[in-house]
Subunit: 223 residues, 2 copies
Protein backbone atom coordinates (compact mmCIF):
# COMPACT_ATOMS: atom_id res chain seq x y z
CA UNK A 1 0.00 0.00 0.00
CA UNK A 2 1.76 3.11 -1.21
CA UNK A 3 1.60 6.22 0.93
CA UNK A 4 0.59 9.63 -0.37
CA UNK A 5 3.17 11.97 -1.78
CA UNK A 6 2.58 15.43 -0.31
CA UNK A 7 1.68 18.01 -2.94
CA UNK A 8 1.73 21.77 -2.64
CA UNK A 9 -1.86 21.76 -1.46
CA UNK A 10 -1.79 18.66 0.76
CA UNK A 11 1.38 19.56 2.61
CA UNK A 12 0.45 20.42 6.19
CA UNK A 13 2.06 23.81 6.66
CA UNK A 14 0.87 24.90 10.11
CA UNK A 15 2.34 22.52 12.71
CA UNK A 16 3.88 20.17 10.09
CA UNK A 17 4.58 17.51 12.73
CA UNK A 18 0.82 16.94 12.83
CA UNK A 19 0.84 16.08 9.13
CA UNK A 20 0.51 12.44 8.07
CA UNK A 21 0.61 10.98 4.57
CA UNK A 22 0.31 7.25 5.33
CA UNK A 23 -2.36 5.52 3.33
CA UNK A 24 -3.29 3.17 6.18
CA UNK A 25 -3.77 6.04 8.62
CA UNK A 26 -5.80 8.03 6.11
CA UNK A 27 -7.95 5.03 5.21
CA UNK A 28 -8.64 4.36 8.88
CA UNK A 29 -9.84 7.92 9.45
CA UNK A 30 -12.03 7.71 6.34
CA UNK A 31 -13.44 4.38 7.55
CA UNK A 32 -14.23 5.60 11.05
CA UNK A 33 -15.95 8.71 9.73
CA UNK A 34 -19.06 8.64 7.59
CA UNK A 35 -19.82 12.32 7.00
CA UNK A 36 -17.62 14.41 4.76
CA UNK A 37 -17.73 18.09 3.92
CA UNK A 38 -17.54 18.64 0.17
CA UNK A 39 -16.12 21.95 -1.05
CA UNK A 40 -16.51 23.26 -4.58
CA UNK A 41 -16.71 26.57 -6.34
CA UNK A 42 -19.93 28.01 -7.83
CA UNK A 43 -19.66 31.32 -9.70
CA UNK A 44 -16.37 32.00 -7.94
CA UNK A 45 -17.81 31.40 -4.46
CA UNK A 46 -16.89 28.48 -2.21
CA UNK A 47 -19.71 26.14 -1.17
CA UNK A 48 -19.36 23.50 1.56
CA UNK A 49 -22.00 20.78 1.85
CA UNK A 50 -22.08 17.84 4.28
CA UNK A 51 -22.89 14.40 2.91
CA UNK A 52 -22.35 10.71 3.57
CA UNK A 53 -19.72 8.70 1.74
CA UNK A 54 -18.26 5.25 1.32
CA UNK A 55 -14.71 4.11 0.64
CA UNK A 56 -13.74 1.11 -1.49
CA UNK A 57 -10.00 0.72 -2.02
CA UNK A 58 -8.73 4.01 -3.31
CA UNK A 59 -12.14 5.30 -4.38
CA UNK A 60 -14.38 7.52 -2.29
CA UNK A 61 -18.02 7.41 -3.37
CA UNK A 62 -20.64 10.05 -2.74
CA UNK A 63 -24.17 9.85 -4.02
CA UNK A 64 -27.50 11.55 -4.03
CA UNK A 65 -30.47 12.48 -6.12
CA UNK A 66 -29.83 12.90 -9.83
CA UNK A 67 -31.44 16.32 -9.25
CA UNK A 68 -28.85 17.41 -6.68
CA UNK A 69 -27.20 20.70 -7.54
CA UNK A 70 -23.99 19.66 -5.86
CA UNK A 71 -23.72 16.42 -7.80
CA UNK A 72 -24.67 18.06 -11.09
CA UNK A 73 -21.95 20.64 -10.49
CA UNK A 74 -19.32 18.08 -9.50
CA UNK A 75 -20.04 15.67 -12.34
CA UNK A 76 -18.60 18.29 -14.67
CA UNK A 77 -15.23 17.32 -13.21
CA UNK A 78 -14.48 20.61 -11.48
CA UNK A 79 -12.04 20.68 -8.59
CA UNK A 80 -13.36 19.35 -5.31
CA UNK A 81 -12.02 19.24 -1.77
CA UNK A 82 -13.44 16.59 0.56
CA UNK A 83 -12.71 16.83 4.28
CA UNK A 84 -13.47 14.31 7.03
CA UNK A 85 -13.00 15.29 10.66
CA UNK A 86 -13.09 13.21 13.84
CA UNK A 87 -12.92 14.95 17.21
CA UNK A 88 -11.30 12.83 19.92
CA UNK A 89 -10.97 15.12 22.92
CA UNK A 90 -11.07 18.62 24.31
CA UNK A 91 -7.60 19.47 25.56
CA UNK A 92 -7.62 21.76 28.58
CA UNK A 93 -4.41 23.58 29.32
CA UNK A 94 -3.59 25.88 32.22
CA UNK A 95 -3.52 28.85 29.90
CA UNK A 96 -6.39 29.76 27.63
CA UNK A 97 -3.90 30.15 24.78
CA UNK A 98 -2.79 26.50 24.85
CA UNK A 99 -6.26 24.99 24.85
CA UNK A 100 -6.65 22.63 21.94
CA UNK A 101 -8.50 19.60 20.66
CA UNK A 102 -7.35 16.15 19.77
CA UNK A 103 -8.60 15.39 16.31
CA UNK A 104 -7.92 13.43 13.16
CA UNK A 105 -8.83 15.00 9.85
CA UNK A 106 -8.29 14.09 6.22
CA UNK A 107 -8.31 16.50 3.30
CA UNK A 108 -8.63 15.10 -0.23
CA UNK A 109 -8.27 17.08 -3.44
CA UNK A 110 -9.33 15.89 -6.85
CA UNK A 111 -11.93 15.83 -9.55
CA UNK A 112 -14.99 13.64 -9.25
CA UNK A 113 -16.01 11.19 -11.94
CA UNK A 114 -19.60 10.12 -12.55
CA UNK A 115 -20.23 6.40 -12.20
CA UNK A 116 -22.34 5.39 -15.21
CA UNK A 117 -21.75 1.66 -15.40
CA UNK A 118 -24.70 -0.07 -13.71
CA UNK A 119 -22.65 -2.78 -12.03
CA UNK A 120 -20.17 -0.28 -10.62
CA UNK A 121 -23.06 1.94 -9.55
CA UNK A 122 -24.72 -0.92 -7.66
CA UNK A 123 -21.37 -1.85 -6.12
CA UNK A 124 -20.85 1.79 -5.09
CA UNK A 125 -24.26 1.90 -3.42
CA UNK A 126 -23.43 -1.28 -1.54
CA UNK A 127 -20.12 0.29 -0.52
CA UNK A 128 -21.99 3.31 0.68
CA UNK A 129 -24.41 1.25 2.79
CA UNK A 130 -21.66 -1.05 4.08
CA UNK A 131 -19.59 1.97 5.05
CA UNK A 132 -22.35 3.34 7.24
CA UNK A 133 -23.70 0.05 8.59
CA UNK A 134 -22.26 -3.39 7.93
CA UNK A 135 -25.03 -5.95 7.63
CA UNK A 136 -27.71 -3.65 6.35
CA UNK A 137 -27.27 -4.20 2.61
CA UNK A 138 -28.08 -7.90 3.03
CA UNK A 139 -31.38 -7.16 4.80
CA UNK A 140 -32.88 -4.12 3.11
CA UNK A 141 -34.41 -4.27 -0.36
CA UNK A 142 -31.69 -3.41 -2.85
CA UNK A 143 -32.27 -0.60 -5.38
CA UNK A 144 -34.44 -1.35 -8.40
CA UNK A 145 -33.87 0.04 -11.90
CA UNK A 146 -35.95 3.14 -11.30
CA UNK A 147 -34.10 3.93 -8.08
CA UNK A 148 -30.73 3.34 -9.72
CA UNK A 149 -31.64 5.83 -12.43
CA UNK A 150 -32.79 8.41 -9.86
CA UNK A 151 -29.48 8.14 -8.00
CA UNK A 152 -26.29 9.82 -9.08
CA UNK A 153 -23.03 8.33 -7.87
CA UNK A 154 -19.72 10.14 -8.06
CA UNK A 155 -16.31 8.68 -7.43
CA UNK A 156 -13.22 10.51 -6.23
CA UNK A 157 -9.85 8.80 -6.51
CA UNK A 158 -7.70 8.96 -3.41
CA UNK A 159 -4.58 10.28 -5.11
CA UNK A 160 -3.97 13.55 -3.35
CA UNK A 161 -4.73 13.40 0.35
CA UNK A 162 -3.25 14.16 3.71
CA UNK A 163 -4.19 13.78 7.34
CA UNK A 164 -3.64 16.11 10.24
CA UNK A 165 -3.66 14.60 13.70
CA UNK A 166 -3.27 15.87 17.24
CA UNK A 167 -3.05 13.50 20.18
CA UNK A 168 -1.95 13.66 23.77
CA UNK A 169 -2.08 16.00 26.75
CA UNK A 170 -2.01 19.79 26.83
CA UNK A 171 1.36 21.46 26.41
CA UNK A 172 1.68 24.51 28.64
CA UNK A 173 4.41 27.08 28.96
CA UNK A 174 6.83 25.86 31.62
CA UNK A 175 6.00 28.61 34.11
CA UNK A 176 2.25 27.86 33.83
CA UNK A 177 2.53 24.34 35.26
CA UNK A 178 2.45 26.00 38.69
CA UNK A 179 -1.05 27.39 38.12
CA UNK A 180 -3.47 25.49 40.36
CA UNK A 181 -6.10 24.73 37.72
CA UNK A 182 -7.21 21.35 36.43
CA UNK A 183 -5.65 20.39 33.10
CA UNK A 184 -6.04 17.32 30.95
CA UNK A 185 -8.13 15.75 28.24
CA UNK A 186 -11.86 15.23 28.04
CA UNK A 187 -12.36 12.40 25.52
CA UNK A 188 -15.28 12.72 23.12
CA UNK A 189 -16.83 10.05 20.95
CA UNK A 190 -19.89 9.29 18.92
CA UNK A 191 -22.39 7.28 20.95
CA UNK A 192 -25.64 5.58 20.09
CA UNK A 193 -28.94 5.97 21.89
CA UNK A 194 -31.66 3.38 22.10
CA UNK A 195 -32.95 2.35 18.69
CA UNK A 196 -36.42 3.73 17.90
CA UNK A 197 -38.56 1.25 15.94
CA UNK A 198 -40.65 2.69 13.14
CA UNK A 199 -44.32 2.97 14.13
CA UNK A 200 -45.30 0.85 11.14
CA UNK A 201 -42.84 -1.93 11.93
CA UNK A 202 -44.34 -5.39 11.40
CA UNK A 203 -44.92 -7.42 14.53
CA UNK A 204 -42.24 -9.71 15.83
CA UNK A 205 -39.23 -8.09 14.22
CA UNK A 206 -36.36 -7.73 16.65
CA UNK A 207 -33.72 -5.02 16.50
CA UNK A 208 -30.83 -6.55 14.54
CA UNK A 209 -27.49 -7.11 16.25
CA UNK A 210 -25.77 -4.74 13.82
CA UNK A 211 -28.08 -1.98 15.09
CA UNK A 212 -27.94 -2.96 18.78
CA UNK A 213 -24.15 -3.15 18.78
CA UNK A 214 -23.50 -0.33 16.35
CA UNK A 215 -20.10 1.26 16.50
CA UNK A 216 -17.72 2.82 14.03
CA UNK A 217 -14.59 0.85 13.09
CA UNK A 218 -11.68 1.96 15.28
CA UNK A 219 -7.98 2.23 14.53
CA UNK A 220 -7.38 -0.39 17.23
CA UNK A 221 -9.74 -2.95 15.63
CA UNK A 222 -8.06 -6.04 14.22
CA UNK A 223 -7.97 -6.04 10.46
CA UNK B 1 -34.76 38.56 16.33
CA UNK B 2 -35.09 38.81 12.59
CA UNK B 3 -34.97 35.65 10.53
CA UNK B 4 -32.74 35.17 7.51
CA UNK B 5 -33.94 36.13 4.08
CA UNK B 6 -33.10 33.29 1.69
CA UNK B 7 -30.68 34.36 -1.04
CA UNK B 8 -29.89 32.58 -4.29
CA UNK B 9 -27.12 30.64 -2.60
CA UNK B 10 -28.76 29.97 0.77
CA UNK B 11 -32.07 28.77 -0.65
CA UNK B 12 -32.33 25.03 0.00
CA UNK B 13 -33.10 23.65 -3.42
CA UNK B 14 -33.03 19.88 -2.93
CA UNK B 15 -35.89 18.94 -0.60
CA UNK B 16 -36.88 22.56 0.13
CA UNK B 17 -39.16 21.49 2.98
CA UNK B 18 -35.97 20.68 4.90
CA UNK B 19 -34.84 24.29 4.56
CA UNK B 20 -35.07 26.59 7.56
CA UNK B 21 -34.24 30.29 7.78
CA UNK B 22 -35.19 31.03 11.41
CA UNK B 23 -32.50 32.81 13.33
CA UNK B 24 -33.31 31.02 16.58
CA UNK B 25 -33.05 27.60 14.94
CA UNK B 26 -29.82 28.51 13.20
CA UNK B 27 -28.30 29.97 16.37
CA UNK B 28 -29.21 26.83 18.30
CA UNK B 29 -27.44 24.60 15.77
CA UNK B 30 -24.40 26.88 15.85
CA UNK B 31 -24.42 26.81 19.66
CA UNK B 32 -24.70 23.03 19.92
CA UNK B 33 -21.88 22.50 17.40
CA UNK B 34 -18.33 23.63 17.98
CA UNK B 35 -16.50 22.50 14.85
CA UNK B 36 -17.12 24.19 11.53
CA UNK B 37 -15.79 23.42 8.08
CA UNK B 38 -14.46 26.55 6.42
CA UNK B 39 -14.45 26.65 2.62
CA UNK B 40 -12.47 29.15 0.57
CA UNK B 41 -10.81 29.31 -2.81
CA UNK B 42 -7.03 29.24 -3.34
CA UNK B 43 -5.75 29.63 -6.90
CA UNK B 44 -9.18 28.64 -8.20
CA UNK B 45 -9.32 25.44 -6.11
CA UNK B 46 -11.69 24.86 -3.20
CA UNK B 47 -10.14 24.18 0.21
CA UNK B 48 -12.13 22.92 3.23
CA UNK B 49 -10.54 23.10 6.67
CA UNK B 50 -12.10 22.12 10.02
CA UNK B 51 -11.73 24.50 12.93
CA UNK B 52 -13.39 25.52 16.17
CA UNK B 53 -15.56 28.60 16.44
CA UNK B 54 -17.57 30.72 18.82
CA UNK B 55 -20.79 32.67 18.32
CA UNK B 56 -21.64 35.98 19.96
CA UNK B 57 -24.88 37.55 18.77
CA UNK B 58 -24.72 37.69 15.01
CA UNK B 59 -20.94 37.25 14.84
CA UNK B 60 -19.16 33.97 14.31
CA UNK B 61 -15.53 34.06 15.43
CA UNK B 62 -12.76 31.80 14.26
CA UNK B 63 -9.17 32.12 15.34
CA UNK B 64 -5.76 30.60 15.08
CA UNK B 65 -2.11 31.34 14.73
CA UNK B 66 -1.20 34.57 13.02
CA UNK B 67 0.89 32.29 10.76
CA UNK B 68 -2.11 30.24 9.63
CA UNK B 69 -2.43 30.08 5.85
CA UNK B 70 -6.21 29.82 6.11
CA UNK B 71 -6.54 32.91 8.27
CA UNK B 72 -4.07 34.91 6.21
CA UNK B 73 -6.09 34.03 3.11
CA UNK B 74 -9.43 34.84 4.69
CA UNK B 75 -8.35 38.14 6.23
CA UNK B 76 -8.13 39.50 2.70
CA UNK B 77 -11.92 39.46 2.73
CA UNK B 78 -12.39 36.78 0.08
CA UNK B 79 -15.63 34.81 -0.01
CA UNK B 80 -16.00 32.15 2.63
CA UNK B 81 -18.54 29.41 3.29
CA UNK B 82 -18.78 28.06 6.82
CA UNK B 83 -20.74 24.87 7.45
CA UNK B 84 -21.71 23.28 10.76
CA UNK B 85 -23.22 19.79 10.81
CA UNK B 86 -24.83 17.80 13.63
CA UNK B 87 -25.79 14.16 13.02
CA UNK B 88 -28.77 13.04 15.11
CA UNK B 89 -29.60 9.56 13.85
CA UNK B 90 -29.14 6.91 11.22
CA UNK B 91 -32.51 6.34 9.57
CA UNK B 92 -33.03 2.75 8.46
CA UNK B 93 -35.74 2.16 5.88
CA UNK B 94 -36.95 -1.13 4.42
CA UNK B 95 -35.42 -0.24 1.09
CA UNK B 96 -31.79 0.66 0.68
CA UNK B 97 -32.88 3.64 -1.43
CA UNK B 98 -34.79 5.32 1.39
CA UNK B 99 -32.07 5.07 3.99
CA UNK B 100 -31.23 8.49 5.35
CA UNK B 101 -29.86 10.37 8.31
CA UNK B 102 -31.42 12.82 10.66
CA UNK B 103 -29.23 15.87 10.77
CA UNK B 104 -29.15 19.60 11.32
CA UNK B 105 -26.73 21.67 9.29
CA UNK B 106 -26.10 25.36 8.82
CA UNK B 107 -24.41 26.96 5.84
CA UNK B 108 -23.16 30.55 6.14
CA UNK B 109 -21.81 32.69 3.31
CA UNK B 110 -19.91 35.90 3.73
CA UNK B 111 -16.59 37.65 3.93
CA UNK B 112 -14.51 37.50 7.08
CA UNK B 113 -13.21 40.58 8.82
CA UNK B 114 -10.06 40.65 10.90
CA UNK B 115 -10.54 41.69 14.53
CA UNK B 116 -7.79 44.23 15.27
CA UNK B 117 -9.20 46.01 18.30
CA UNK B 118 -7.61 44.49 21.40
CA UNK B 119 -10.74 44.62 23.52
CA UNK B 120 -12.84 42.98 20.83
CA UNK B 121 -10.11 40.43 20.27
CA UNK B 122 -10.03 39.49 23.95
CA UNK B 123 -13.82 39.36 23.99
CA UNK B 124 -13.76 37.11 20.90
CA UNK B 125 -11.29 34.75 22.57
CA UNK B 126 -13.53 34.58 25.61
CA UNK B 127 -16.48 33.88 23.31
CA UNK B 128 -14.49 31.13 21.70
CA UNK B 129 -13.62 29.49 25.03
CA UNK B 130 -17.12 29.98 26.43
CA UNK B 131 -18.59 28.44 23.29
CA UNK B 132 -16.59 25.26 23.77
CA UNK B 133 -16.68 25.06 27.55
CA UNK B 134 -18.59 27.37 29.85
CA UNK B 135 -16.66 27.98 33.06
CA UNK B 136 -13.20 27.52 31.61
CA UNK B 137 -12.37 31.15 30.83
CA UNK B 138 -12.71 32.05 34.53
CA UNK B 139 -10.22 29.38 35.60
CA UNK B 140 -7.50 29.26 32.96
CA UNK B 141 -4.88 31.99 32.65
CA UNK B 142 -6.18 34.53 30.13
CA UNK B 143 -4.02 35.48 27.13
CA UNK B 144 -1.16 37.90 27.69
CA UNK B 145 -0.03 40.56 25.23
CA UNK B 146 2.41 38.27 23.44
CA UNK B 147 -0.26 35.58 23.01
CA UNK B 148 -2.81 38.11 21.81
CA UNK B 149 -0.39 39.27 19.13
CA UNK B 150 0.33 35.67 18.07
CA UNK B 151 -3.37 34.97 17.64
CA UNK B 152 -5.41 36.05 14.66
CA UNK B 153 -9.16 36.40 15.13
CA UNK B 154 -11.60 36.67 12.26
CA UNK B 155 -15.25 37.56 12.49
CA UNK B 156 -17.99 36.53 10.08
CA UNK B 157 -21.35 38.32 10.26
CA UNK B 158 -24.37 36.06 10.25
CA UNK B 159 -26.20 37.80 7.44
CA UNK B 160 -26.59 35.10 4.85
CA UNK B 161 -27.30 31.71 6.36
CA UNK B 162 -29.68 28.81 6.15
CA UNK B 163 -30.26 25.54 7.91
CA UNK B 164 -31.23 22.16 6.52
CA UNK B 165 -32.88 19.72 8.88
CA UNK B 166 -34.21 16.18 8.66
CA UNK B 167 -36.08 14.62 11.55
CA UNK B 168 -38.34 11.66 12.07
CA UNK B 169 -38.75 8.07 10.94
CA UNK B 170 -37.90 6.48 7.60
CA UNK B 171 -40.34 7.02 4.77
CA UNK B 172 -40.70 3.91 2.63
CA UNK B 173 -42.62 3.29 -0.55
CA UNK B 174 -46.07 2.05 0.43
CA UNK B 175 -45.55 -1.47 -0.93
CA UNK B 176 -42.28 -1.85 1.01
CA UNK B 177 -43.96 -1.63 4.43
CA UNK B 178 -44.72 -5.33 4.04
CA UNK B 179 -41.03 -6.27 3.92
CA UNK B 180 -40.15 -8.08 7.16
CA UNK B 181 -37.03 -6.11 7.99
CA UNK B 182 -36.40 -3.90 11.00
CA UNK B 183 -36.81 -0.18 10.29
CA UNK B 184 -36.44 2.83 12.49
CA UNK B 185 -33.96 5.33 13.83
CA UNK B 186 -30.66 4.78 15.61
CA UNK B 187 -29.98 8.01 17.55
CA UNK B 188 -26.41 9.27 17.61
CA UNK B 189 -24.90 11.86 19.89
CA UNK B 190 -21.59 13.19 21.08
CA UNK B 191 -20.61 11.58 24.37
CA UNK B 192 -17.80 12.21 26.81
CA UNK B 193 -15.43 9.63 28.21
CA UNK B 194 -13.70 9.82 31.57
CA UNK B 195 -11.55 12.92 31.95
CA UNK B 196 -7.80 12.20 31.77
CA UNK B 197 -5.80 14.39 34.17
CA UNK B 198 -2.53 15.75 32.83
CA UNK B 199 0.45 13.86 34.24
CA UNK B 200 1.90 17.10 35.59
CA UNK B 201 -1.30 18.13 37.35
CA UNK B 202 -0.60 19.63 40.78
CA UNK B 203 -1.75 17.54 43.73
CA UNK B 204 -5.20 18.00 45.13
CA UNK B 205 -6.90 19.51 42.11
CA UNK B 206 -10.28 17.93 41.48
CA UNK B 207 -11.90 17.62 38.07
CA UNK B 208 -14.16 20.69 37.77
CA UNK B 209 -17.92 20.23 37.53
CA UNK B 210 -17.98 21.84 34.09
CA UNK B 211 -15.68 19.06 32.89
CA UNK B 212 -17.40 16.23 34.80
CA UNK B 213 -20.85 17.23 33.57
CA UNK B 214 -19.83 18.41 30.14
CA UNK B 215 -22.53 18.50 27.51
CA UNK B 216 -23.36 20.65 24.51
CA UNK B 217 -26.31 23.06 24.83
CA UNK B 218 -29.44 21.40 23.44
CA UNK B 219 -32.41 22.90 21.61
CA UNK B 220 -34.58 21.73 24.50
CA UNK B 221 -32.54 23.58 27.16
CA UNK B 222 -34.29 26.44 28.87
CA UNK B 223 -33.07 29.79 27.70
Amino acid sequence: MEDFKPTERTTVKRLPKRGNYERETINQILDEGFICHVGFVVDGSPVVIPTGYGRLGDQLYIHGSAASRMLKTLREGIGVCVTVTLIDALVLARSSFHHSMNYRSVVIFGNARIVEDEDEKMKALQTFTDHIMIGRWEEARIPNQKELRATMVLSLSLNEASAKIRTGPPVDDEEDYEIPVWAGELPLHLATGEAVPDSRLRDGIEIPQYVQNYRRPQATDER
